[in-house]
Amino acid sequence: MFDFEGYGPSIFGGAIITLELAVFSLVLAVFLGLVGAWGKMSGNRFAKFVATFYTTLIRGVPDLVWMLLLFFGGQIALNTVIDYFNYDLGYNLPYPQFNQFAAGVVTIGFIFGAYMSETFRGAFMAVENGQIEAGKAYGMSGWKVFSRIMFPQMMRHAIPGIANNWQVLLKTTALVSIIGLADMVRLASEAAKSTGSPFKFFIPVAIVYLAIAALSDIIFKLLNNKYSAGVVKGGS
């Protein structure tokens, strides 16, 4: 069973790429989620409209469509922008290659940013208003209220949602194999095609996904304990 006909190391490398992709996407998604949640809750009507538009649009269209649009369209859009700078404005900018990893991170980050903003919005609303008022009464600036009062208390409510999104995100990373990034799934399918034994490669890949999921469950449980310090649960 554990004879990978020489494909073992490359598939292991693919697993690392999968993990890197997932982690970078998560960071982008959390950032966009915070911005989106802020937009949705802000009194500014324009910010509210943009945030609502973003979350609705992202969640109504399949991930793969976004990914192909960004990957195939991204290069063209980038070239057009740089053409404009170079020919019309007289700059001499280089043409960067739009690679699969960046396209993957940006797409997955954008998609899960939309889900995260819902998670964060719910979590922010769960923080008592009195806490924020107390912070303001101490003369804290908006940023200080956010970083010292809102964020630490909000995270307790957000972590179950983040954990959920992370598990889905992890599985979504498999889609980058379609646009050609050499992740675990891509390498396994190449190996399966050339050796003619799909199960030998896909079952270990599936096990790696399950293992990452189980491991992240443990990490999120620890994080949950950290942010729930001092909370007394009903029933205990």
């Binding site: 399949p62 195939f72 896909f202 890949v205």
Partner: protein, 237 residues
């Protein structure tokens, strides 16, 4: 109508021919999603009952099934089934080969197994949330286990499952886009062909994104109506 035809004639990409391709893709997507949901839903009912049972010999195997299928990417499951069926010894000589040679049935099997796993967990949650009193009342009436299931537990469990199930339906619609990877010309497959034909990613993919968006909102609208009718008694007054 004349204006529409004139518009189509001016347009390089959205000619009647490409619109027909999109239409064919739409039909395939709807077929694939609808069949997966119906078959997966039917399989999920007995599995959910087993999963909710106290007997570990019944619930554990179902738990393993749902854990594996919910924990791994659908793409991996699709590849396994798509490449795997060709390996069954001698399948090329039987009539099954006619069915499995195309990509439609392998994709359908992968989608059915996947959605059945998610639906099982949704139904299980709904079954376990049955109020105790209802079950006790059914027992007091002398109902057998099967009658209790059929008349008391399942009808109310299905109602309770509707909000979560609507998410699963939309998830399935979006997940079905990966069928285009194994040569099926579904909506996204049509868009990819048109992209390749004209090298025009923005029109090809934005158009298909709009179709998916309309489908998504259509499904949400249907479920909202359904919830209003079937869960009306739970609404705050």
């Amino acid at each position: 109508m004349d204006a529409l035809i004139a518009l189509l004639e001016q347009n390089d990409i959205f000619t009647p021919a490409t619109l027909l391709q999109y239409w064919g893709g739409l039909v395939t997507t709807v077929q694939l999603v609808f069949l997966s949901l119906v078959i997966g839903g039917v399989i999920a009912i007995p599995l959910a009952i087993m999963r909710a049972s106290d007997n570990p010999w019944l619930s554990r195997p179902v738990w393993v099934y749902t854990y594996v299928f919910r924990g791994t990417p659908l793409l991996v499951q699709l590849y396994m089934i798509y490449y795997g069926v060709t390996l069954i010894d001698g399948i090329q000589d039987t009539f099954w080969w006619e069915i499995f040679r195309g990509a439609f049935y392998p994709a359908l099997i992968a989608f059915v197994l996947n959605t059945a796993a998610y639906t099982t967990e949704i139904f299980r949650g709904a079954i376990e949330a049955t109020p105790r009193g209802e079950i006790e009342a059914a027992k007091a009436y002398g109902m057998s286990w099967a009658r209790r299931m059929r008349r008391i537990v399942l009808p109310s469990a299905f109602r309770r499952a509707i909000p979560a199930y609507s998410n699963e339906v939309i998830f399935m619609l979006h997940a079905s886009a990966i069928a285009s990877v194994v040569t099926i010309i579904d909506l996204l497959g049509a868009a990819r062909n048109i992209y390749a034909q004209y090298y025009a990613p923005f029109p090809a993919f934005i158009f298909v994104a709009c179709i998916y968006l309309i489908l998504t909102f259509g499904i949400l609208g249907i479920f909202k109506q359904l919830e209003k009718r079937l869960l009306g008694h739970l609404r705050p007054r």
